[in-house]
């Protein structure tokens, strides 16, 4: 919705910290590109596929779907924006719905998760691994810790119990189908669309520093390109250079 020269309500909010990099990396993949080179030693963002992805995102801004100056991570963050009625749709994780449900029960009740439309005939998307368990290689009880992780995360029954208790999507492929998936969907109905798209997911890759790439490199340059402070070529070149620096 536009009043005067300014957007007062946005159609689709994808310009927050997570939404921008995820949208870009997924569209880049759908365009036929890849985030990393074949041996995973360098980022390949400043490519024709990267440009195609960013141009598509810019076209969404140019067509008035969202104003990235007024709607980003600092101002009108996607959760606030959606639940307060300033955005019709938003790209955000499923944790947001229960988080806002108490304050906005009617909006939460009417909220639905839907898969994003295919681009270039592809529904591929990039995602990292979610919450993980790690063991320090210096730990004096490393083997015992790994035993526990195998028990908790690799045993299908235990892993399903964890998902049911914590309301999380399964990390084990075996639990994303058949009875385990049906039980999870029965408990958490909003999981249904996620199970539809899970097969399209691609591992983000072994990144030297995921947060640095997403929040300090990807987000600022993508936002600058959408806001018009950097050209698409400048943003892609800067992102690739800075991302490759993270390999050290």
């Amino acid at each position: 919705m536009i009043e005067g020269d300014a957007m007062t309500r946005a159609g689709y909010h994808f310009t927050a910290f997570d939404g921008l990099p995820y949208s870009f990396f997924s569209l880049l993949t759908q365009a036929g590109g890849s985030m990393l080179n074949e041996d995973g030693t360098a980022f390949t963002l400043n490519t024709p596929e990267g440009k195609e992805a960013l141009e598509l995102m810019k076209s969404m801004v140019d067509e008035g779907i969202i104003d990235p100056v007024l709607f980003n991570d600092t101002e009108n963050w996607v959760g606030d924006c959606y639940f307060e009625g300033f955005c019709a749709m938003g790209l955000v994780g499923p944790w947001v719905v229960p988080d806002y449900a108490e304050a906005f029960p009617e909006v939460a009740g009417a909220t639905q998760y839907v898969p994003l439309p295919a681009y270039n005939g592809s529904n591929a998307f990039i995602a990292d691994s979610g919450w993980g368990l790690t063991v320090s290689k210096d730990s004096p009880v490393a083997e015992a810790a790994w035993d526990f992780i195998r028990f908790a995360a690799l045993d299908p029954t235990n892993a399903a119990a964890y998902n049911l208790t914590s309301g999380t999507l399964p990390g084990l492929k075996a639990n994303a189908t058949d009875a385990a998936a049906a039980e999870l969907t029965a408990t958490f109905p909003h999981f249904a669309p996620f199970f539809e798209i899970l097969p399209n997911g691609q591992y983000v890759g072994n990144l030297p520093d995921r947060d640095l790439l997403f929040y300090d490199i990807g987000y600022p340059h993508l936002l600058s390109a959408l806001q018009g402070s950097e050209t698409i070529d400048e943003a892609l070149a800067a992102m690739e250079q800075e991302a490759n620096e993270t390999f050290g």
């Binding site: 957007m7 980003n72 101002e75």
Partner: protein
């Protein structure tokens, strides 16, 4: 902090049993400080961000100190000139924001400056009769006299919260100016303005020094307002050194680099405070 500044230290990597230093967290000597002098466009991201943060912090501090003094000194003189009861009331009102949590202040100013629901835009809309939607804290193209509006927005919030502190100091200092000196000037025919400029102001010089040094130090340390109001944006226009240190240390785990930047921040504050002390030093007391 002193030790970490000389190591490429990250808690994500394994070091030796001694404080996690060494091994994958190697000793790098003065390398961090050498990198800080790399002004090439191809310098690493954290180095370019440090340069930006240093500029932002210096601009913020040198904006805040004169503005703070320009507001608090005349205000203190006005409060000092009213009746005793009113004086206590004014002092309390102006000091209350100092006691408020900085995060609370940032959130409140966030509401005031919100583009769609903010008080300020609503006020402008009411006055102009149009629809005003200005992104005070997120539009990278807004500036006033070359200063980003987002930085000015944080400055206003900081001044609102901080002026009560200096105000109380100045009111106390004004009360300590001997009546006999002011009365002698009055007998000599000095006007109110002359008495303030030629008698009160010179006698307040040590207090002005104290207030300016304290304000400068606290302006260099501001973190909460930047973190909550802008998170360093838009386009690093409000990336203060304290925020840069926090993000490097705790978001990206570059503790060694963050420690080196902290050391630079300390040296900058120390140098500027010393310069202020020399500039405003007096050789007499009253």
């Amino acid at each position: 902090m002193l030790v970490l500044a000389f190591f490429e230290f990250s808690p994500r990597r394994s070091g030796t049993p001694f404080l996690g230093l060494g091994a994958d967290n190697p000793f790098v000597g003065l390398e961090h400080f050498r990198q800080m002098f790399d002004f090439a466009d191809t310098a690493p991201l954290e180095v370019r961000q440090f340069h930006t943060a240093l500029k932002v912090t210096l601009l913020f501090a040198f904006l805040i100190v004169p503005l703070n003094l320009a507001i608090t000194l005349p205000l203190a003189a006005m409060i000092e000139s009213v009746g005793r009861r009113s004086r206590v009331w004014f002092r309390t009102v102006f000091f209350l924001p100092v006691l408020t949590s900085a995060v609370g202040v940032a959130i409140i100013w966030g509401f005031v400056l919100h583009p769609q629901r903010g008080l300020l835009n609503a006020l402008i809309s009411r006055v102009t009769g149009g629809s005003t939607v200005i992104a005070w804290t997120t539009d990278p193209n807004l500036s006033f006299l070359g200063i980003p509006i987002a930085l000015l927005a944080v400055s206003v919030a900081y001044l609102w919260q901080d002026i009560g502190y200096n105000l109380v100091i100045f009111v106390a200092a004004l009360q300590a100016v001997p009546d006999s000196v002011k009365e002698a000037a009055l007998v000599d025919g000095a006007s109110a303005g002359q008495r303030f400029r030629l008698i009160t102001l010179p006698l307040l010089k040590p207090t002005i020094l104290l207030a300016s040094v304290l304000t400068m130090i606290s302006a260099f340390q501001v973190f909460d307002l930047f973190q909550v109001m802008t998170d360093g944006g838009p386009e690093d226009q409000t990336r203060a050194l304290s925020l840069d240190i926090y993000q490097n240390a705790f978001r990206f785990q570059r503790m060694g680099w963050a420690a080196a930047v902290s050391l630079v921040l300390f040296l900058v504050v120390f140098t500027i405070s010393r310069a202020q002390s020399r500039l405003l030093r007096t050789d007499w007391e009253y």
